[in-house]
């Protein structure tokens, strides 16, 4: 068996793969947060809970309606996104005139309610969700074994992230969105329905979180607590990247996932704090974040 720095390559690449998987979720979730923050100026604390709802959606669709993983991948984000639209319409929209911290507190409360309700209903133990038939098995790459499903998660996450980036940066719809981020009143004066755009943006951000949740269902067990701690790591990722750029949050997500995986190989005790340490260092050197602009 070959070794790099005294670590068997098998273990190294194994942890790198796990890092890349985690990075896929960090990227999707921080992207959702960044999209929402861009237009609403609200940090969506409920994002972790909505990610969990996505996973439960997949489980529910399979168990009760017999709909496959592929259906869940489409329906999950739509259903959870729709609940996001309702939340924005009836709650968040009342808070735009106030300090942004109130939005944070409101979504924190919602996260507690959602998590509590699911825990009350399903308990704290995880529910299993099988990998879809067509993605079972894996490839032997010579230096490591790559399960098909994991490869799919990385590819799908990259595709969705880059697709979102393309939509926001390169299309007409995206240019409206960016314009409204800069100056809401002016865009409204041009006859664009900004409140509706805000509602749909929130729904879309939430849907991204739910999409991550559906993809996570076969990897992690489906549990009410799966999003609670994850979201705090994603916050750190967001602070490191800075909220300024869409591409920034995607890159930071993947890079930090890989960094976390590497730490697990070389210094396992620090693996669950490494992202926070990086955050502290970045704040000391560049308070606005790696890709951010202070505003």
């Amino acid at each position: 068996m070959s070794e790099i720095f005294g670590i068997p390559t098998q273990a190294l690449f194994g942890q790198l793969l796990i890092g890349l998987i985690n990075g896929s979720f960090y990227a999707l979730l921080s992207l959702g947060l960044a999209v929402i923050f861009g237009l609403l100026n609200i940090i969506n604390f409920a994002h972790g809970a909505q990610y969990m709802m996505g996973a439960f959606c997949a489980w529910f669709l399979l168990k009760k309606l017999g709909l496959s993983y592929w259906w869940a991948l489409v329906l999950g984000p739509i259903i959870v996104g729709a609940t996001g639209v309702v939340i924005e319409r009836f709650m968040l929209s009342k808070l735009y005139k106030l300090d942004h911290l109130y939005g944070f507190l409101l979504t924190f409360g919602l996260a507690l309610v959602i998590q509590g309700l699911f825990r009350h209903e399903f308990g704290s133990t995880g529910l299993p969700y099988a990998i879809p038939k067509s993605l079972e098995g894996g490839q032997n790459l010579g230096f490591m074994f790559l399960p098909n499903y994991r490869a799919w998660v990385i590819a799908a996450s990259l595709t969705v992230c880059l697709g979102t980036w393309f939509m926001i940066e390169k299309t007409k719809l995206g240019s409206y969105l960016r314009a409204a981020t800069e100056n809401r009143e002016l865009v409204q004066a041009f006859g664009i329905n900004v409140p509706r755009m805000i509602t749909l943006t929130y729904g879309f951000g939430v849907a991204l979180g739910a999409f991550a949740g559906v993809m996570a269902a076969p990897i992690y067990s489906v549990s009410p607590l799966m999003g609670g701690d994850l979201i705090i790591v994603v916050f750190a990722v967001v602070v490191i990247g800075g909220m300024g750029s869409i591409m920034g949050s995607i890159v930071t997500g993947f890079v930090l996932g890989i960094l976390e995986g590497l730490t697990k190989v070389f210094y396992p005790e620090a693996s669950n704090i490494v992202i926070f340490v990086v955050m502290a260092i970045v704040l000391m050197i560049k308070p606005a974040g790696l890709f951010g602009t202070q505003r």
Binding site: L101, F108, G109, V113, A236
Partner: protein, 352 residues
């Protein structure tokens, strides 16, 4: 506008309406309210379970310390549990084990230290715990005050999570079990705190002193500058105030006082455990302050009483506690932003 400023702006408007004798009046209504609070905590043990009241006082002090930062400094710390928790651990460990440090290992270097102290008396344990929280406050504060608003909240939350993971792994915290069966010990080596009356009196003195200290801080020139920074930081800076230094000092004071609350409660409940460091605890103190009234002097205490009472009442319902807490959060943010004391103060047209 920061959350606290809305509430205090309202309070200021009220004070303004009652202008002619406002200055005299302000002091009087606060004094009456203070007397009511002291009388309540002195007489309540006759009717309410004293252990619960001690919990209210500990968490009331914790919430007051938090409110010092949010209500008057405009800084929402979403990681205040780390100060409560770390102080609890330090106090509990010192009261139970004392210090036995043979040598210090820093990397490959080993420094012979050879300090050995018997278990600490409760007052020293509590002081050491608060001090530890203060030191942590300096470290966290230096990093966190580099960003404002929502970022500040996320950074403190993330750093608190780091402290949480540290506490799970560190050898002295007892991991999932925490530090149990902490002796209450003898205050100054004389008064036995296993006597409930003595314990209650001690907590009462700590609570009232902490409360008065916070009141003093808020109404000092330092507190005024803090409020100015909250309202308009660039303007305060242009007036020559070093905003970062004021914010850091406020952060450290708040952390130390939160530590005082945490260390005291570790001695009272003879336990230091992981739940005190978890982010749900940080959320809870935000809830207490919000329910009681942001930026009011007495709000956090009332909020602590209300939230703890609710939890006590719902304790046997398990997951429902979280659901109800979340729902109260949502309702408070949407329709009840002034909180109980804020509304009361508006209704009485007096600052409280």
């Amino acid at each position: 506008m920061t959350p606290g400023s809305e509430a205090t702006a309202a309070a200021a408007a009220i004070a303004g309406e009652a202008r002619p004798s406002a200055r005299v009046d302000e002091g009087r209504s606060l004094r009456i309210a203070f007397a009511v609070m002291v009388a309540f905590f002195l007489l309540a043990p006759l009717a309410i379970y004293p252990i619960f009241l001690m919990k209210v006082m500990c968490f009331g002090l914790f919430a007051c310390a938090f409110n010092l930062l949010l209500g008057y400094g405009g800084l929402l710390s979403f990681g205040h549990a780390m100060f409560l928790g770390i102080a609890g651990y330090v106090a509990a460990y010192l009261a139970k084990e004392g210090v036995a440090l043979e040598a210090l290992h820093i990397g490959a270097v080993t420094l012979p230290v050879g300090i050995s102290l018997p278990p600490f008396t409760p007052e020293l344990a509590i002081l050491s715990g608060s001090l530890a929280a203060g030191v942590l406050g300096v470290l966290v504060g230096l990093i966190a005050i580099r960003r404002q608003g929502i970022y500040f909240a996320m950074i403190t939350l993330a750093l608190a999570q780091m402290v949480y993971f540290f506490c799970i792994q560190a050898p002295f915290t007892g991991g999932e079990d925490g530090i149990q069966a902490v002796p209450r010990g003898k205050l100054f080596g004389l008064i036995d705190l296993s006597n409930i009356t003595a314990m209650y009196a001690t907590v009462f003195v700590i609570f009232v002193s902490g409360f008065l200290l916070i009141y003093r801080i808020i109404h000092s020139p330092f507190g005024q500058v803090l409020k100015a920074i909250r309202e308009n930081e660039p303007r305060a800076i242009s007036l020559g105030y070093d905003a970062d230094r004021y914010k850091l000092l406020a952060f450290v004071l708040s952390a130390t006082l939160a530590g005082l609350a945490g260390a005291t409660s570790a001695i009272v409940f003879q336990l230091a455990a992981l739940n005190a460091v978890h982010w749900t605890m940080s959320g809870e103190v935000v809830l207490m302050t919000l329910v009681g009234g942001l930026g009011t002097v007495f709000g956090p205490v009332v909020g602590a009483f209300a939230v703890l009472g609710m939890e006590n009442y719902l304790a046997q319902l398990g997951a429902w506690v979280t659901i109800v807490q979340g729902a109260i959060f949502v309702i408070c943010v949407l329709t009840f932003r002034r909180g109980i004391v804020g509304e009361l103060s508006r209704w009485l047209r007096k600052p409280l």
